[in-house]
């Protein structure tokens, strides 16, 4: 799965996700990536999210929308909201990760796997890519 989330200079957010799904999938199985609210969501009032992981769990938790809703309705820091929702995924037995950007320009990750192919850049000069946890 690949994904991107962005905040532009006009203050607008967008999210996108694309995937081949799960190796050996059958019966027309669909994961979270194309499901708006599970693997992909964007709302200028809160955040933009793209997810990658064990799709069945991300669908059950409604990960992308859940993170955005928490940010819209509470004062939680974005990293906390993302970590809390990913903890719910883990609690149900799922693994994976999310990327998100906020209207304030934060570009964040949260994942509970040993690695996630990832990168982020901002107008403040941040530009980084990483693979393994702790990098």
């Amino acid at each position: 799965t690949v994904g991107a989330v962005a905040l532009d200079t006009h203050g607008n957010l967008a999210a996108g996700t694309s995937t081949g799904g799960l190796t050996g999938k059958r019966w027309g199985r669909i994961g979270d990536a194309p499901i708006i609210g599970a693997g992909t969501y964007a709302d200028n009032r809160s955040c933009a999210v793209s997810a990658t992981g064990a799709g069945e769990y991300f669908i059950r938790v409604g990960v992308a929308r859940e993170i955005c809703s928490r940010l819209r309705l509470t004062d939680l820091p974005a990293q906390t909201a993302a970590d809390e929702v990913m903890a719910e995924v883990k609690e149900l037995g799922g693994d994976g990760g999310v990327i998100l950007v906020t209207p304030a320009g934060d570009a964040l990750f949260s994942f509970n796997t040993p690695g996630m192919y990832r990168g982020r850049a901002t107008s403040e000069g941040m530009r980084e890519v990483a693979i393994f946890a702790g990098e």
């Binding site: 690949v2 962005a6 532009d8 200079t9 607008n12 999210a15 694309s18 799709g55 320009g105 890519v129």
Partner: protein
């Protein structure tokens, strides 16, 4: 100038340094950096968040190292079925497609669904017909095939493994 920001991913999972050669690590990082730069360039020059997202994802879909577009994993029947979604935070318009087999860049089709506006989620043959009507580029399904992904499927079948045993990453 207003702030801009961008985050990207190419999948998550049991990705361990000891299972990766230095060359593979460098190659993945270079691909991520190139995609990040493509999106950053759009944003730096005043482009929209949607265009930045598209620029990043098209690049990653075209790279066989990642499980999307060319290089996608195989289904049980040794086909590649692709899914994608895109959403505009300004209007909460969205487009998504699932189960397509001949669309070179599924994210472009998802965006076309969003732009059309009548529906959010199209699937399978219907989505492919919609793509044809919109002039979205198609390819022979063999374009998506990579030997590494086929090997993963064969190992999975031969050893009755799960997808997570044969792939380092999800999605």
């Amino acid at each position: 100038q207003q702030r801009w920001s961008l985050a990207i991913h190419g999948g998550a999972g049991v990705i361990l340094r000891e299972n990766m050669t230095p060359e593979e690590e460098a190659s993945h990082k270079a691909a991520l950096a190139a995609a990040l730069d493509a999106g950053s360039e759009v944003l730096k020059t005043g482009g929209t968040a949607l265009d930045a997202v598209e620029a990043v994802i098209v690049r990653l879909e075209d790279d066989p190292q990642f499980n999307a577009g060319r290089g996608a994993v195989f289904t049980w029947d040794e086909t590649n079925e692709l899914d994608a979604a895109i959403m505009d935070g300004r209007t909460r318009e969205a487009g998504a497609i699932t189960g397509v087999t001949a669309i070179k860049n599924p994210i472009l089709l998802a965006r076309a669904v969003m732009a059309d506006g009548r529906h959010v989620f199209l699937s399978g043959a219907g989505a492919e017909t919609f793509a044809k009507d919109r002039g979205i580029e198609t390819v022979d399904p063999a374009y998506f095939r990579t030997e590494r992904r086929l090997e993963s499927l064969k190992r999975m079948k031969a050893n009755a493994l799960s997808a997570l045993d044969v792939d380092h990453k999800f999605g």
